[in-house]
Subunit: 343 residues, 4 copies
Amino acid sequence: MTLKFGVIGTGAIGREHIKRITDKLAGGKIVAVTDVNLDSAKQAVEQYSLDATIYEDDQALCQDENVDAVLVTSWGPAHEQNVLNAIEAGKYVFCEKPLATTAEGAMRIVQAEMKHGKKLVQVGFMRRYDPGYVQLKNAIDANEIGEPLMVRCVHRNPEVPETYGTEMAVVDTLVHEIDVLHWLINDDYKSVQVLYPKKTSRAHAGLKDPQIIILETKSGIIINAEVFVNCHYGYDIQCEVIGEDGVAYLPEPASLVTRKSAQLSQSIMTDWKVRFIDAYDVELQDFMDSIKQIGEPNGPTAWDGYIAAVTTDACVKAQNSGQKEDVALEEKPAFYDNKAAVN
Amino acid sequence: MTLKFGVIGTGAIGREHIKRITDKLAGGKIVAVTDVNLDSAKQAVEQYSLDATIYEDDQALCQDENVDAVLVTSWGPAHEQNVLNAIEAGKYVFCEKPLATTAEGAMRIVQAEMKHGKKLVQVGFMRRYDPGYVQLKNAIDANEIGEPLMVRCVHRNPEVPETYGTEMAVVDTLVHEIDVLHWLINDDYKSVQVLYPKKTSRAHAGLKDPQIIILETKSGIIINAEVFVNCHYGYDIQCEVIGEDGVAYLPEPASLVTRKSAQLSQSIMTDWKVRFIDAYDVELQDFMDSIKQIGEPNGPTAWDGYIAAVTTDACVKAQNSGQKEDVALEEKPAFYDNKAAVN
Amino acid sequence: MTLKFGVIGTGAIGREHIKRITDKLAGGKIVAVTDVNLDSAKQAVEQYSLDATIYEDDQALCQDENVDAVLVTSWGPAHEQNVLNAIEAGKYVFCEKPLATTAEGAMRIVQAEMKHGKKLVQVGFMRRYDPGYVQLKNAIDANEIGEPLMVRCVHRNPEVPETYGTEMAVVDTLVHEIDVLHWLINDDYKSVQVLYPKKTSRAHAGLKDPQIIILETKSGIIINAEVFVNCHYGYDIQCEVIGEDGVAYLPEPASLVTRKSAQLSQSIMTDWKVRFIDAYDVELQDFMDSIKQIGEPNGPTAWDGYIAAVTTDACVKAQNSGQKEDVALEEKPAFYDNKAAVN
Amino acid sequence: MTLKFGVIGTGAIGREHIKRITDKLAGGKIVAVTDVNLDSAKQAVEQYSLDATIYEDDQALCQDENVDAVLVTSWGPAHEQNVLNAIEAGKYVFCEKPLATTAEGAMRIVQAEMKHGKKLVQVGFMRRYDPGYVQLKNAIDANEIGEPLMVRCVHRNPEVPETYGTEMAVVDTLVHEIDVLHWLINDDYKSVQVLYPKKTSRAHAGLKDPQIIILETKSGIIINAEVFVNCHYGYDIQCEVIGEDGVAYLPEPASLVTRKSAQLSQSIMTDWKVRFIDAYDVELQDFMDSIKQIGEPNGPTAWDGYIAAVTTDACVKAQNSGQKEDVALEEKPAFYDNKAAVN
């Protein structure tokens, strides 16, 4: 059985997913595409020699009976309506982050999905599919370090362009930690506080960099998250969970070790695109396999998208107020409770 | 375009490759199978819901016009004839190691392929597709450690069954190093000597374990290879190349780091099947992609299979003689000289 | 020339220093001892076969013309008066931490020393003599990681007795970081905030453990210090300075690496006494050598003792208030500005 | 009690030991010096303000009743006679390596010492006092890795001068491994073979570099020792013992870790003098302490000096013959059997 995809949005990330499904993964096929720029949709069809219908809008694409699942890779503000249209048509949806640009929008998707009665939506938080995070999650769940008490994580980029503003540290950068951490420690966020250390001279005038975001969870775990997007030396993702019995670390990416020029060294990546490249493959393959095997996607849900939206909102509020701010999540519906384990 | 495979041998490794091509990789399809035990072939077809013809023998399978490429996963002694049949039919062949059980057999394949006039054969030495070895190879080729002078490698298994004899340390175990090392350092073997250190009390009576195999290359590089198949503590593959300017190491597999019970630790694998699991995927995907893109497979060639056969023969001779033995390779035909780089 | 010591306090740490000066270091000699328990003083003289006068009180000992330097290893509340008596007598003083139990007491010593007109006092903060911290300091001062922006440090003990209360996390434990960090980054503390993560079930009822202490410096550096005194797994001191160009870490203590039982491991210490054992030797040797070579001690000064006292006070206030509290340091007198570099 | 030293040889290493005993260690004093160049002896006395008699020859110095122990730091060829003179006078001797330049000379010292009836001699093999080797020795003796089967060690220098010849790789460089390894694994050497890998272009014309020396012990352990004295990248000493249950490694020296310029690195030393600098202190302090506490030195004995001499001779023979050569040790006299453990 082949899962037939309709793709909304044929920009860079859309084409990467098209290529992935077409040339690298098993069991999927692109059968329909659309884009606000129809020429781009046509070019994508040509570039990957797709046997796909080109639609003028997302609604028509969603209604195509030949489409089993919709891949939402349009620009962020369009995601909410794209996903709602897919749900309306009863189609599975894989939506790149964010699920919606507001908490209310994410909640509308949650409600539409619940009304539909079956899980359809997966949000593209690929870190949960990174083998390192999976090892870390397994160690925590297997109680290898005891009850988690603290988390320390680091998200460093070598540099960012002038267009990157202070809020993007949360909305674009920390959002990956926001998703992966509550999954890792099986807990929900309660409050957040943001600290601004001494600013690096490499950050442009309008950007506070680095930032320290301190999240507290409902059970009292304190997460210390550093975002430093002009760290200069490389792209570096660290995560360390301190438990009652010990500490577990996200593994460093396997990298050549050398003894050279009076240094024992291993390389640090500089390009973020390389860091989780395999996770994108695993994530999409799992989306397809889960739908075939258990009838629903098995990754981050619409509810996880809602958590991300509410938490980033609270972080932005804390960035501006300098105070500790509440992360005011609605109670989790039972609908989202039973989730098959990510293997 | 889909590459259509005929599979000769539906035992454990055969089925793994069938599953890989069917459920995980893009662009391939199983269209024919055979096995000396026809029931096994039938079960494989059923197990993976294949739309495949079942043949009574390998020759018939090779002649099937629907078959583009033959996957040889029969038992070792059958490989030579399987591969010759496939070449005879002008089909691409992916053959699990060994290409042939004798140097003469491997040479017959080389000659058949050269007579055919185009490269058809890839041997299943998957380590060349391991990202760690690829990094090591790239560092050497980029002259990051200068001219290689020495290599040290280690191949350790936690334990082996009673059926594992002294020669298997070369034929079954070291053979992976034999292939990957000459590729790594772009050199050919000249001689080999085997030393037997103090025997571990965990080795059964008939097995010399550990063994140290010292290979010298034509340019004078000395390779010190340890095979220790009852090392007890884990499955551990190490490789270190010492050059004029520095040393480069095969990376340790990325693995969770913990601080626990007064130890800062990371896990060592115990199951060899896990160590290169991803390399099997990459290797088969590359086989398919290369055939589509450049019209021939791009991995280890029949000539590499011949090198492995001649070198294991010399190692076995050195195991028995206690002397330094020649590795008497024929001169490499120009046919095997131009090889597109493994990406 | 031999530096002649009078020792005030012959308990455990007093005897260790006596043994050190007598049996291990060069250039010092114990010539006088006293203790509130005179029997203890007599036993110490006997135990180390000292040729030393036993005094009934610290004042008499300080006045002994034969005494060049006073070693204060009495209990904490006596330190201030011991040190003032030594200064009064014009003697050099090596005082174990704390210099005084209050900021006012430390300030009285500072003023007495300034009135005396020459530096006499060194406080026993031994970490500045640990080779790891010295390397870290040198790297920062040599601008190897650029301007420091953030510091993260960890102080973990496997367990503490029932008598260890919440304030001791600052007064007894964090005090070492308080001294070493402002020296490391050449900055002064401005404010402090204390967070209480989820409590470990191993901490007794009256103890908040772990604690996170967030110090901000005058230039804006944010220090994130974790104190976790029931971490169970070992005694573990970590320090990481994040600068504009890179990150530098306090080295892990050199420790045997093994591959064993499916783990690649190195030992973590469990006994705090072992961690900085060599630093105690270097510290006392430097005290003696500096007096001989430059006429004054070269280690942590009375002013550093004052900084520690003011900062621990602010930390305790922050522990209790849950608010950000000021670290209200007086302006540093020029008297303490010119300091010969520690080797 | 102070141990009074007479020093034979006031060159570089002699003066370092004089400084050590005078300014750094406890319990020793220089009371007599001599040198073939009397001016040098006078300068040393002046430089360190020694209260020491200057002798015209070593025999007179040894006979000085005020001298308890003789420190032999003359040039190598003089060592044998210096030590014999000291034994003749019944004095303790600390002799820098080599004990004698020939196996016969070393044996003469062994016999003189046995005739004297008490152990007097310690040879300056300082590695046994390095904390890393001590940890490795303790792990082996505590059976943490089971029975040793193989050893791999590496001795790399960044470069050597033109005067360094092929034999010096054994006589000057490997000699440290020769001593420390038989102590580590509690075994004696039986044979040796030398291999010459491809030569580095950095070695001068007359020097074979690198070299691989393969030693076999009486119990069958195989030691693979690499000497590479123009390795360019640093001074690097490695040692790894592979046992039945696991592997133990000499720890890397503790060194600052940084993340910088896309590298996670730690420094490798370039200056051999720094690597074991602390071990020299511990070694001499132990010499003094052992004499005081147990009446004889506790370090490497005259017999160990003899082992080193016989083994280096065999290695040089193997360098020249290209064959496996015997290490023909006499049977160890019972006199050298009972040895208090190095703490």
